[in-house]
């Protein structure tokens, strides 16, 4: 671990720190007992930041700090579920299709292609405008995940096709390794870089999709997410009434979260290539 840290480059370090801060906020601080932050009139309305309320309160008398913590938690949960499902299913389907070839490949690709070609945002608008009443964090994540796996699986398949033709694979093949073994030992490490970067993208894409839906007024009305928090502030005109302590935190948090994840992944890529180069 110490060794890892020593060899890690600056970006990886910053990325890890920022991401850890968010994980800490979203999963540790989140568990400190607090009142339901959604509840109206818990405190005075439009209080400025103070020791008791680090970011002040909203026009509805909600504590912005706790809203933000809850929003980070929910957004991360949505992002991770979507990214996890998307990446795992995507890599699995992509590799399977790319390496098996034949009819299995075709069937898998028809299904994948169908999900690639159906434009996701309109369908998400369609789905959420149906179920926003009953939507929970998990349900929201599942709907978003519906469109998160197809693209990576296509990409991974392309990758697999291109790798399949390379010499070291042929060598492995000739030396008698089975397909599964080849995939696990030779391809998976190769696909891992891509998967991790995809995981990061998928997390962000999911959080961004959710915010887009929130801005269109389609995210569940009582789901505290980063997107909804921005939208609620916008609905109460926080931009023009200059309640920066309200509209600011969710925006800054979203931006920082992504920068953190991004630095983490590029830093990690660099770290890997450096290790390989040595």
């Amino acid at each position: 671990m110490k060794k890892f840290w020593k060899h890690a480059n600056g970006r990886l370090k910053v990325g890890i720190i920022v991401t850890l801060i968010f994980l800490f906020l979203g999963f540790v601080v989140y568990n400190i007992p607090h009142v339901n932050p959604f509840s109206y009139n818990t405190y005075g309305r439009r209080l400025p930041p103070s020791l008791e309320h680090p970011f002040g309160t909203t026009s509805m008398g909600q504590d912005i700090f706790w809203l933000l913590i809850e929003a980070i938690h929910n957004s991360l949960v949505i992002g991770f579920i979507v990214a996890f499902i998307g990446t795992v299913v995507g890599v699995f389907v992509g590799l399977l299709a790319g390496f098996s070839g034949g009819w299995l490949d075709r069937i898998l690709m028809v299904i994948t292609d169908t999900f690639v070609v159906i434009p996701s945002l309109p369908i998400l608008v369609l789905m959420t405008s149906l179920m926003r009443g009953s939507a929970t964090v998990i349900l929201m994540a599942l709907v978003l995940a519906m469109f998160a796996w197809a693209w990576p699986s296509r990409q991974i398949r392309s990758l697999a096709l291109s790798i399949k033709e390379r010499d070291f694979i042929h060598t492995a093949w000739f030396s008698g390794e089975g397909t599964v073994q080849v995939i696990v030992t030779e391809i998976l490490p190769y696909a891992l870089t891509w998967s991790l970067s995809n995981f990061m993208n998928a997390t962000l894409a999911a959080i961004a999709s959710e915010s887009s839906l929130a801005v269109l007024g389609l995210s569940p009305a009582n789901l505290i997410s980063l997107g909804n928090m921005i939208q609620w502030a916008r609905e109460r005109n926080a931009i023009f009434t200059q309640q920066w302590n309200w509209i600011g935190p969710p925006i800054v948090a979203t931006v920082l979260l992504f920068i953190g994840l991004f630095l983490l992944i590029t830093g990690y890529n660099d770290y890997l290539s450096m290790k390989r180069g040595r």
Binding site: S39, N41, R45, G133, G217, A221, R234, E235, N237, I239
Partner: protein
């Protein structure tokens, strides 16, 4: 060096000059002089650009069409709450049993192509509706009218199948507009199918005609008729609409709307939130609402917002349960959460506390309300009415630094006669009486954990949406387990008709005329259909024999009679006892205007009309709005 400095000074000055000069001769995006163009916001872009025939499906009347062009039989004086003849020269003269009605037509009105508007046009319009099943109102007109015929050029005889005492109320404007709009016979009689005739270059009787429109549906430019004195408005008032052009335009979402208003790119906005008013008035001194200062908004929109119940479901069918809900909510907090306390409380079900209705019904009901008692089921009773709301809210707002009047009458006008008390302990008793059970882990009904599904309409009325979210917050605090859902209008309209909701924030309310029939006729228990089927009205499915009897009785009574008023009063008492709807506030509208280019908009200081730009009476406002010199 010196020269450069002076150049730096001169350049901005020059630019400033250019810009101010540009402002004087500013033109709108559609190429008309800004000073001659009144720009009015329309709330949604039209889906059918270039379609001005009101009898074709989907024509968006609020896009200036009925505000500037349509010819109505009877129009509404929104200030007095009385109708007057527009195409008609007066009210119908009916026979004893209200089956035969003589309507006289106003002389002197001409269509924009110079033809005279006379009895032929009126008779043709009625018969066109009845003969074309493709027109939405056709079937209904056939059930009402036996015949409509011409007596002479300016007299029409209308025969109804049954006694129909409310001809002007039903076929003239009361709220917003009316679907009877007289069309030019010499044009429409030559059209093969009037339900597919777009009428892109309409011949109208109103004071404006279409100059041009956006094929993408975002704006329509209207131009004043050169012979405006022969238009409906010209003949009725003798006054000229001041603006040569009126541009109806979709301005965009809330962020864009307020930016456009601050930058003087639009003169009239339809409806905004108090947060927007605060910002806009601070950034541009020319922007004002109905009241120049607090509370800014008018409370006279006839649709009160509150919560509706699905009364075909248990336990929502139980009046004790509904009263429990009313008493479990702290209205002061709800009020602050909706529009920061602004708005006239309109606690009574179905009837909205507009100024007129407050005088006619709410205040006369006050003694009865104060004595009204609920039976709590444990031998005790409770008086639920709280007349102190106005004073309390005034106190709260004064503490926040607002200038709130102290005069009793002014306070009552501003905040209403009162609301339902906040009494969670009483509410608990009522819920128990209604069959609910309170256990340590929450409320149960019939042995099952009890959850309330609450619905509101997304992206339309902020007042209704915020009201329901505030109610959700209150009921959660009370200890109920609630779900909160927002629905798009397409989903909601379907759910409302089939009864697929439990508690919803919408507005089956109204009240503009002394006669309540048109307002309460939709609550007739005979209209109830089973859950899942689409009814016609009665989405709430309120089954009350007495109310239904009153509605049926009222149908046969002349709207001008004392009996009509007494039946209305009786209906209100029945409704209050049963509480099919809990009202929060009357329709509170923040309707900002910008007096950079135009002035003399209707306002509290000069209330010659209501600020209802989206109603058909807007044409009578255009004669009063004057250009800034």
């Amino acid at each position: 060096m010196k020269r450069r400095v002076s150049a730096f000074l001169v350049l901005p000055l020059l630019l400033l000059l250019v810009f101010t000069a540009a402002n004087v001769y500013a033109v709108t995006e559609v190429g008309t002089p800004r000073r001659e163009t009144l720009i009015v916001e329309t709330q949604t872009p039209t889906d059918v650009p270039g379609q001005f025939n009101s009898y074709m499906q989907g024509t968006q009347m609020g896009f200036g069409i009925h505000q500037l062009m349509s010819a109505m039989m009877w129009e509404m004086d929104t200030v007095k709450g009385e109708q007057f003849g527009e195409v008609a020269a007066g009210f119908p003269e009916s026979n004893e049993d209200f089956t035969e009605h003589i309507v006289r037509i106003r002389e002197g009105i001409r269509w924009s192509d110079g033809e005279e508007l006379n009895a032929d046009d009126v008779v043709f319009t009625f018969n066109m509706i009845m003969d074309n099943p493709g027109i939405g109102a056709s079937a209904y007109y056939n059930t009402v009218f036996e015949s409509v015929e011409k007596v002479d050029d300016y007299t029409v005889r209308i025969k109804t199948r049954e006694s129909f005492p409310r001809l002007a109320l039903r076929f003239g404007v009361t709220i917003w507009g009316n679907d009877l709009r007289i069309v030019p016979e010499h044009i429409y009689s030559k059209v093969d199918d009037v339900t597919t005739f777009k009428d892109s270059n309409p011949v109208v009787a109103g004071p404006y005609t279409v100059h041009s429109y956006d094929p993408l549906g975002k704006w329509v430019l209207y131009e004043r008729r050169e012979d405006w004195q022969y238009s409906t408005v010209g003949v009725v008032t003798g006054k000229m609409p001041q603006a040569k052009y009126v541009l109806f335009k979709y301005v965009g979402d809330d962020t864009t709307r307020q930016m456009a208003m601050v930058n003087n790119e639009v003169d009239i906005l339809c409806e905004v939130t108090p947060e927007m008013v605060e910002v806009m008035t601070a950034m541009n001194p020319n922007i004002a609402c109905w009241y120049k200062d607090f509370p800014y908004a008018t409370s006279d929109d006839p649709c009160s917002k509150g919560i509706a119940f699905q009364m075909a479901k248990e336990p929502f069918d139980n009046p004790d349960f509904r009263w429990g809900i009313a008493l479990a909510m702290n209205f002061d907090e709800i009020s602050l959460n909706i529009f920061d306390g602004v708005g006239r409380a309109s606690a009574l079900p179905i009837l909205t506390a507009t100024s007129a209705m407050q005088e006619l019904y709410y205040i006369p009901l006050l003694p009865w309300l104060e004595e009204f008692e609920l039976d709590l089921g444990d031998g005790t009773t409770f008086k639920p009415f709280d007349p102190d709301y106005a004073y309390r809210m005034a106190e709260i707002l004064r503490a926040q630094g607002y200038d709130v009047p102290t005069e009793h009458d002014e306070l009552i006008d501003m905040f209403g006669i009162g609301c339902w008390k906040y009494a969670p302990d009483v509410a608990e008793k009522l819920f128990i009486k209604a069959g609910l059970e309170k256990r340590t882990d929450g409320w149960y009904f019939k042995g099952e954990p009890f959850t309330i599904n609450m619905t509101y309409l997304a992206d339309t009325e902020a007042q209704a949406g915020r009201g329901l979210i505030a109610a959700y917050d209150q009921l959660v605090k009370f200890g109920f387990n609630c779900n909160l859902a927002s629905e798009s209008s397409a989903t909601w309209d379907s759910n409302a008709a089939t009864g697929n909701f439990e508690i919803a924030g919408y507005w089956p309310t109204g009240g503009i005329t002394r006669d309540l029939y048109s307002q309460i006729s939709g609550w007739d228990a005979d209209l109830i259909v089973p859950l899942g089927e689409r009814g016609s009205g009665q989405g709430s499915r309120w089954r009350n024999e007495e109310a239904t009897r009153i509605i049926h009785e009222l149908a046969k009574v002349s709207p001008d009679s004392d009996e009509s008023y007494e039946l209305g009063m009786e209906f209100m008492k029945v409704a209050i006892k049963d509480l099919p709807f809990i009202g929060f506030h009357s329709g509170v509208k923040f309707v900002p205007t910008n007096s950079t280019y135009w002035t003399n908009y209707p306002s509290a200081e000069n209330p010659y009309n209501g600020p209802w730009w989206w109603w058909s009476c807007f044409k009578y406002i255009t004669t009063e709005i004057t250009p800034v010199q």
